[in-house]
Symmetry: C2
Subunit: 329 residues, 2 copies
């Protein structure tokens, strides 16, 4: 496990809770390595005592994560699978890409909850994985663990995706919901931070970057057109006054930060920005931390997936499901 924050810790708990179901799928596991800035890079092929590590009483095989040491860490751990859940770097996707590359090179499957490797190195990592007969999977990168990428990869063969729209950033959606309930922007942001949804520096969400990164990831993987987040026309919610947000809701046309992407000739046009949506549009019913995506395809005019009230466990679940895809019978 590279990174040992909320997501990988939730994954450890979920793996333990689903041990029986995993065994029924022919899968057993032990965690043989964890690496993070706080803990260092610890490995033991016999399995780590994660409780002791969290309590700070275990310090074996501590290594710094430079290229050769990373390989040594993976080798010491005898890793079959790397679960990568470090912080997102929108700029270059590092160090996540280096971790994933090293894992695949060493013969391990690479599973990430991180959008950086998808927007910066989807093709390279997918090709590397194929060459090594391993999997590079990232279901948790968009809409927590809801099966979006795997739906198209495995369940919608021969379908052409023409475009999609939806609400993909929970922080801004929660802030807008709070403003509709009477809070100022700052109060609503502060509440989202207290709930652990928004980060201390929430500008990445508020400016629409997180949503743009998700749109770029979806376009790149599902529409086969490499798209950088900078190519997504982007407007955040910081310019929306609380009074205007409340009035829009009162008038039955609430503001939502809407993501859109559509094919235009051989290219794709994509945008993220606040829109007023009518109450007859399912987008209007997506409140709080819920999210929604509507796919427009040649077969299904509109196929919509909505996720209500996800928790950190749903993100961890996406990694568990990828784990089953990679190593299950």
């Amino acid at each position: 496990m590279a990174g040992f924050g909320n997501v990988n810790r939730a994954l450890v708990r979920l793996l333990a809770r689903k041990q029986q179901e995993l065994r029924a799928l022919g899968i057993d596991y032990r965690v043989t390595g964890v690496g993070s800035r706080r803990l260092g890079w610890i490995a033991d092929p016999e399995g780590l005592d994660l409780a002791a590590i969290e309590a700070g009483s275990s310090q074996r095989s501590r290594l710094a994560p430079h290229a050769s040491e990373l390989c040594k860490w993976l080798g010491t751990a005898k890793a079959d699978v790397l679960f990568e859940a470090t912080s997102l770097s929108v700029k270059d996707g590092q160090p996540a890409i280096a971790y994933i590359r090293a894992a695949l090179e060493s013969g391990a499957h690479a599973i990430t909850a991180n959008k950086g490797p998808v927007i910066h190195a989807y093709r390279e990592l997918t090709e590397l994985a194929a060459a090594k007969r391993r999997r590079f999977l990232f279901e948790s990168a968009v809409m927590d663990g809801v099966p979006i990428f795997s739906l198209f990869r495995e369940n919608l063969p021969a379908v052409q995706l023409r475009g999609f729209h939806g609400i993909l950033n929970s922080t801004t959606n929660l802030i807008l919901t709070g403003m509709e309930q009477g809070l100022t922007f700052e109060q609503s942001l502060s509440r989202a931070q207290q709930l652990g949804i928004a980060e201390t520096d929430a500008s990445h969400d508020i400016d629409g970057w997180d949503a743009a990164v998700k749109v770029a990831a979806l376009v790149t993987v599902l529409m086969g057109i490499q798209m950088r987040p900078e190519a997504v026309k982007r407007q955040g919610i910081a310019t929306l006054a609380a009074a205007a947000v409340r009035q829009a809701r009162a008038e039955g046309k609430p503001f939502k930060l809407v993501c859109r992407a559509h094919r235009a000739g051989t290219d794709v046009e994509a945008s993220v920005g606040p829109e007023q949506v009518p109450l007859t549009d399912p987008l209007a019913l997506v409140n709080g931390t819920s999210s929604m995506i509507c796919f427009e395809t040649d077969i299904f005019p509109a196929l919509t997936i909505t996720e209500n009230d996800p928790g950190v466990e749903t993100t961890a679940y996406g990694m568990l499901a990828d784990f089953v895809r990679a190593v299950g019978d």
Copy 2:
């Protein structure tokens, strides 16, 4: 192809249109047999001239579909896959079950758009398919071709389904929408029949039987509890007066024919019946022939899939997708 009505005819057109995508998946095909009451049972391992058959100018190898003849038809056709799309028999699932059993026994995969075999013989046919190392697939049986069964089978490993609710019968939903628009029940039914959505004898839909059969199929397959449609508490829409339907919509609590199923101890309680739903519930936005299902699971509190404005092609697509699942690389 057993049955050569709307669904299998749409499948023939869709297979032709998607020939290139299928080849990219390593799949080529020819239709070597069709059987229906009107056409008889025709087979040619070199491939049939379907246009000539539809025009009535081809009559080779006509056979009656009794057990031994059915095997002869499958053998003459050298079928790798049977596409079964005959009419539903709620009572006993025949003759579809016999066709599917014969196909599996002969070593062909069996793909059906028919709910009968699922509610009457899911376990038997699944076990027979496993013994023959073939597939028994039925994605089109519920919500046209939207991947519901395959979502749980392939993309939601280790998830426990606690219950679901939704709108699964398009005829009654379209009739209710028409009544809200000012039509009487009879006018609205008549319009649905003219649109080709409702059958001449629509009582199967109006009385809630179709929805109950779908609920039973979902419970049987996704919740692992064999359920008969008779066990679904059922009320249709025939008792709803048009004025009451209009008033309910005007008051912001429209009537919908809602399907529900929830675990209760080791059993499942299920119902189909008209309910007034608030406009803040996504159910209220499902109009016309659209449908929706919301799954309640241990991981996702509410994961909802909505299909808008499907056509006969979406049902055919479910069979094409099953075809790829059965024979693709």
